[in-house]
């Protein structure tokens, strides 16, 4: 299923002559979970259809058979139950890795997430940590039924006590999940479901970032630490800030813009809480122009926070106000209208144009 290719850039990794494998994000996540279960006897995976079925997206495929029904199990159909139970398991010393089947079904569990998971460490003055990694297949783009295409990052990022991360490619998915699941604090892990089946290079021996796909590998991308943002493409004229499935789209946009001589930097934010404000400052400090792209509705979306962080740090040099290209302030629509809703290449290009053509007064 996964072919091995040799990548000269990872020669510095532990493995000596490193093996970079092609795998889909689904495979990368599955492998990460497998290793997490093997490494930590206190890690447990559960949720709706996670066990025998291996999850509706097969992220937990084969894990029950391999690790047993005590480690990977199905729960009754109740999200508040799943998350509330996670709190108790964490209090008993476990590292729960619950799954909410789709983004929109995190809402029934919000009370447990906001008032319990995010606060138990605080409430208990640090005596009851909540090492819970909540996996949420997220965002749209797969022509799914209602409530299966939601973007909840702005909500999660606003909640004190939560950390939030979203990988954009298989390599990051593997490493970020392994990182998240070894933390002592709760992490919401937002998986871009429209990218589950896309393959990409994964270096399991080193977390240092490698580019998203060979097509966009211009040899200049670099990573920095797992806890921060990642420069997915270097550029001089404008920074596109994105996360999840929008990163790949922004890379496409950058390729197109390059044809017109516009050199775009793409910053994959990865961590949506805490946001890597330094990376934003570094990138836009250089490019002096920025557009932030997300699928969630505009108003009170995370784009506002990103834009404000950029404005705060780069005000003196910014050439134009930060633009936001986002979903609209409308409920996520049915499949037929999905492409009208999610920021598409045209709309991102228009946003870039508005920034480039901005003139004061």
């Amino acid at each position: 299923m996964s072919e091995t290719i040799t990548d000269p850039r990872s020669a510095d990794s532990n493995a000596g002559a490193a093996a970079v494998q092609q795998m889909s994000m689904q495979q990368a996540l599955n492998r990460a979970l497998d290793e997490i279960l093997a490494d930590n006897p206190k890690a447990v995976i559960f949720g709706e259809d996670c066990g025998r079925l291996g999850g509706v997206f097969r992220i937990t495929d084969g894990l029950q058979a391999k690790h047993g029904e005590d480690r990977v199990f199905d729960t009754p159909l109740a999200e508040s139950g799943i998350l509330g139970m996670s709190v108790g398991l964490a209090m008993a010393g476990f590292h729960p890795i619950p799954e909410v089947q789709f983004d929109g079904f995190a809402y029934p569990a919000i009370n447990q997430i906001v008032c319990q998971i995010a606060r138990m460490n605080y409430r208990s003055r640090g005596t009851l940590p909540m090492p819970i990694t909540l996996r949420v297949p997220s965002f749209g783009g797969i022509r799914a039924p209602e409530h299966h295409g939601e973007s909840l990052e702005a909500l999660f990022a606003h909640v004190p006590g939560l950390k939030v991360v979203s990988p954009s490619n298989p390599h990051d998915a593997y490493h970020l999940l392994k990182y998240a699941a070894t933390r002592p604090d709760p992490v919401i892990f937002m998986e871009p479901k429209s990218r589950y089946w896309q393959k990409g290079p994964v270096d399991v021996t080193s977390a240092a970032a490698i580019p998203v796909t060979a097509a966009h590998d211009d040899g200049t991308a670099h990573g920095g630490s797992l806890t921060g943002a990642r420069v997915a493409r270097e550029g001089r004229h404008l920074t596109l800030v994105a996360w999840g499935a929008m990163v790949a789209r922004c890379l496409q946009v950058a390729e197109l813009a390059a044809e017109d001589g516009i050199d775009i930097e793409v910053l994959d934010l990865r961590w949506l809480k805490p946001i890597d404000a330094d990376a934003l400052a570094r990138s836009v400090g250089k490019t002096r122009r920025a557009v932030v792209v997300h699928e969630a509705p505009l108003t009170s979306g995370l784009g506002a926070e990103v834009a404000q962080l950029i404005t705060q740090s780069c005000f003196a040099t910014l050439k134009a106000p930060v633009e936001r290209v986002t979903g609209f302030d409308v409920p996520y629509p049915s499949g037929d209208l999905e492409d009208e809703y999610i920021p598409n290449i045209d709309r991102i290009l228009f946003g870039i144009q508005r920034v480039l053509e901005y003139r004061r007064g």
Binding site: L77, A78, H148, F328, V330, D336, E340
Partner: protein, 350 residues
């Protein structure tokens, strides 16, 4: 501890079903079976992106939907109530449009058809039914003339907190609402015995002082009679009723599902029991209520109907993108209007 609450057997319309009605029930079930099977094929052919088949649940759906009085009752479906919709005479192109990904809630008019928009949140609309039903009480119609709400949900949904809150609210307020559970053995890959502690959703009703009926969900007449008497009980102002129709999801959860991962064909065969359509056919034959010519005609009509619906679905174009904006509010906001303008300029280049 508590004594079992009993259903006030005040079915004011309790005459047994006529032969005509029995044949009508069969015709409906045949239409539903054929349309359901066809919809799965449509998905394979790329006509629709997905579908949630109700194969095996025709008796439960047609039998109950047939009891609804469209002049005063209201139905709260899930995503799998195609048979109820058809039994109530909905515009089936409008209904199926949700599976074409045209519009999430469907394109039929829920107010006129007395069938709420399709609901994708498991247990999402159970409380709506209670609120609607309490509205009937508040409207002060005399007992015996209440509109009744019927809310459909599954064995899986019964685990959701909202179902408990709904049953408790309904019982405290004596709301005229029928909780209609189709226990089809599965919630995606999770079997009922790992889902419903105690083994029966109906059994929970007693804890709220609500009368309940557990009925053979593959027997259309039994389902219909149970539903009819539940409606009569509610209409008379006696408060809610729980019906649990024991049936079986013979197909996959949806066209995206692969039941082979969690049950064998042999298990399916054993657990599913007798096919509800075939079983009803045998009964009608045995009782001399219908003959082979009738069944052939029912099948022909079902095919004709399916063809018309498929044509309608195929002709259904995407909705204009402007509807994304115009249907959010009754009173649109300036902010949203300017987003609509920007969208039009950037996407339609006008």
């Amino acid at each position: 501890m508590t004594t079992e609450p009993v259903l006030a057997a005040v079915d004011d319309d309790a005459a047994p079903l006529t032969h005509h009605q029995l044949r009508e029930l069969y015709t409906l079930m045949a239409a539903v079976r054929h349309l359901d099977t066809a919809a799965v094929a449509w998905q394979r052919q790329g006509i629709i992106p997905g579908y949630a088949p109700e194969l095996g649940q025709e008796a439960a759906q047609v039998g109950s939907g047939y009891a609804v009085d469209r002049s005063r009752d209201f139905v709260f479906p899930t995503y799998r109530e195609m048979g109820v919709a058809r039994a109530m005479g909905l515009d089936m192109v409008g209904y199926m449009s949700t599976h074409k990904a045209t519009w999430h809630g469907g394109m039929y008019n829920p107010l006129e058809s007395r069938f709420a928009p399709i609901q994708a949140v498991v247990a999402g609309s159970v409380l709506h039914a209670v609120g609607w039903a309490h509205g009937q009480t508040l409207s002060g119609k005399a007992s015996g003339h209440h509109g009744v709400a019927i809310t459909y949900f599954g064995d899986g949904a019964s685990s959701q907190g909202d179902v408990h809150e709904a049953m408790n609210f309904a019982a405290v307020m004596k709301a005229p609402v029928v909780f209609f559970i189709q226990n089809n053995g599965w919630a995606i890959s999770v079997p009922t015995d790992r889902q419903v502690a105690g083994g029966s959703v109906a059994a929970r009703a007693a804890g709220y002082g609500i009368p309940s009926l557990q009925v053979d969900g593959n027997d259309v007449v039994a389902v219909h009679e149970a539903t009819r008497s539940a409606f009569a009980h509610c209409r008379a102002g006696n408060g809610p009723v729980v019906i649990e129709a024991m049936t079986y999801r013979r197909g996959p959860h949806s066209t995206a599902d692969d039941p082979g991962r969690y049950r064998t064909l042999e298990e399916e065969r054993l657990d599913a029991g007798q096919d509800p359509l075939e079983r009803f056919k045998q009964r009608l034959l045995a009782e001399g209520i219908a003959d082979e010519a009738f069944f052939a005609e029912a099948q022909r009509k079902a095919e004709e109907e399916e063809e018309a619906i498929r044509t309608g679905i195929e002709e259904l174009g995407p909705r204009p993108g402007a509807e994304m904006f115009s249907l959010v509010f009754q009173e649109p906001t300036p902010a949203l209007q300017s987003q609509a303008t920007a969208w039009r300029e950037e996407s339609e280049h006008v």
